[in-house]
């Protein structure tokens, strides 16, 4: 008896981002609002972080609410139907359940049920990890359209007295529809991790420590200077490598959209990359704060909405954070 030949996925040559969606927290939190418990001031916070206000979600606005709003906008702009979505990838570190994933609930709420749906945990690199996966799923033929969401309600995991990271953080969700393309729209990804710095950004305690009464509610913390050093000088290498594998030069870019960690990191990265003046540098952090996995799609969405960059231009996006995890790629702006 002869063994029949199996069918395998038929591959697709290129992929691109079709559209973006964005949702930010409903509260505008000023530096004065949060300066007291960290014995600081508006001036100190602005000088060290570039943040003037950050967006945070009120008690009535959940991570899922923001993810649904951002996803619906992206789906509507893409021209595809929710039922066409072949996979939902949700990057978040603030979904408050160990299981089930946030992605399955999101898929159901936006009309993409029964698409495969899963969360990824790569913190501030999460959106770029999601785009890398979406690109691979589409070009390998596993899925035709993929919804990638980076969303966080970080304000559930902050300590108002923490001077290392809490005052930077905001809430929001950004979404992208990724699909097949006639022309290249997403470069090879440069992504990776360095677990030797596992404890330089993360939580103050595990949930088990909390359960056992050994620690209070876990909140975010970082070793700021170690992270700053890594985020600038190691990420410059990653950014250069991303340009190289994309086959382009810095002057070909329309925009640099980094994870919105801190304006000092963004500016130093841009300086080290020696970008020509026409390259727009995303500084959404000024009025949104640091929203971890959401920050890149939110910043890119803002640049497109303001008209500072045009659809069809090239943007280098680079995410980096807890893990330490990093991811970068050059994309054609939707």
């Amino acid at each position: 008896m002869s063994v029949p030949t199996l069918k395998q996925y038929e591959t697709v040559k290129y992929s691109r981002i079709y559209s973006l969606g964005a949702a930010r927290g409903d509260l505008t939190v000023t530096n004065d609002d949060i300066a007291g418990p960290i014995d600081s001031s508006d001036e100190w916070i602005r000088q060290r972080t570039g943040i003037i206000t950050r967006k945070r979600a009120s008690e009535n606005l959940s991570l899922m609410d923001m993810a649904v709003a951002a996803s619906n906008e992206a789906i509507e702009k893409s021209g595809i139907k929710p039922s066409d979505i072949g996979a939902v990838i949700f990057s978040t570190i603030t979904h408050p359940f160990q299981t089930p994933s946030a992605a399955t609930m999101l898929a159901d709420k936006i009309g993409a049920n029964p698409a495969p749906a899963y969360d990824i945990s790569a913190a501030c690199a999460g959106y770029c990890y999601g785009i890398a996966q979406a690109d691979a799923l589409i070009r390998s033929g596993v899925a035709k359209y993929v919804l990638v969401v980076g969303g966080e309600k970080l304000s559930d995991f902050i300590d108002p007295t923490d001077r290392t990271i809490s005052f930077l953080l905001g809430d929001g969700a950004g979404a992208a529809i990724v699909g097949p393309s006639d022309t290249p729209g997403i470069s090879p990804s440069v992504w990776g991790s360095d677990g030797s710095h596992w404890d330089s950004v993360g939580m103050t305690a595990s949930l088990l420590d909390f359960r056992d009464g050994e620690q209070s509610w876990p909140t975010l913390r970082q070793e700021g200077l170690t992270v700053f050093k890594w985020a600038v000088w190691e990420m410059v290498k990653v950014a250069r490598q991303a340009l190289e594998v994309a086959g382009i030069k810095a002057e070909d870019l329309s925009a640099l959209v980094t994870h919105q960690a801190n304006i000092r990191i963004i500016d130093e990265l841009a300086k080290q990359l020696d970008l020509p003046e026409h390259v727009v540098i995303a500084r959404d952090i000024v009025n949104t704060g640091n929203t971890s996995a959401a920050s890149i799609p939110l910043a890119m969405h803002a640049l497109l909405a303001s008209g500072e960059v045009k659809s069809g231009g090239l943007a280098l996006q680079i995410g980096f954070g807890a893990g330490l995890a990093f991811g970068a790629q050059v994309v054609v702006l939707p």
Partner: protein, 81 residues
């Protein structure tokens, strides 16, 4: 060839000037980075990385907090060469 203390000081002053705009002449051995020169921790890290590059030395993150004065940094770099 290892640089002398005054050569390291001159090189460090250039780095400080580039990062902060502080005149190179103001960067003197007895000056404190934070109290006298008003350099914040993020700028300090940038200065450290540029100094590592320029002088070919490694300054561990844990060591940075011990570099209180310009002289501390100059001595560290001079000895680490």
């Amino acid at each position: 060839m290892a640089l002398s203390q005054s050569e390291v000081l001159a090189g460090l002053a250039e780095i400080v000037n580039d990062e902060t705009g502080i005149a190179a002449e103001a960067v003197q051995l007895e000056k404190s980075f934070t109290d006298d020169l008003d350099i914040d921790s993020i700028s300090m890290m940038t200065i450290v990385v540029n100094a590592e590059d320029k002088f070919g030395v490694k300054i561990p993150d844990d060591e940075v907090k011990n570099l209180i004065t310009v002289g501390d940094a100059v001595n560290y770099i001079t000895n680490a060469q």
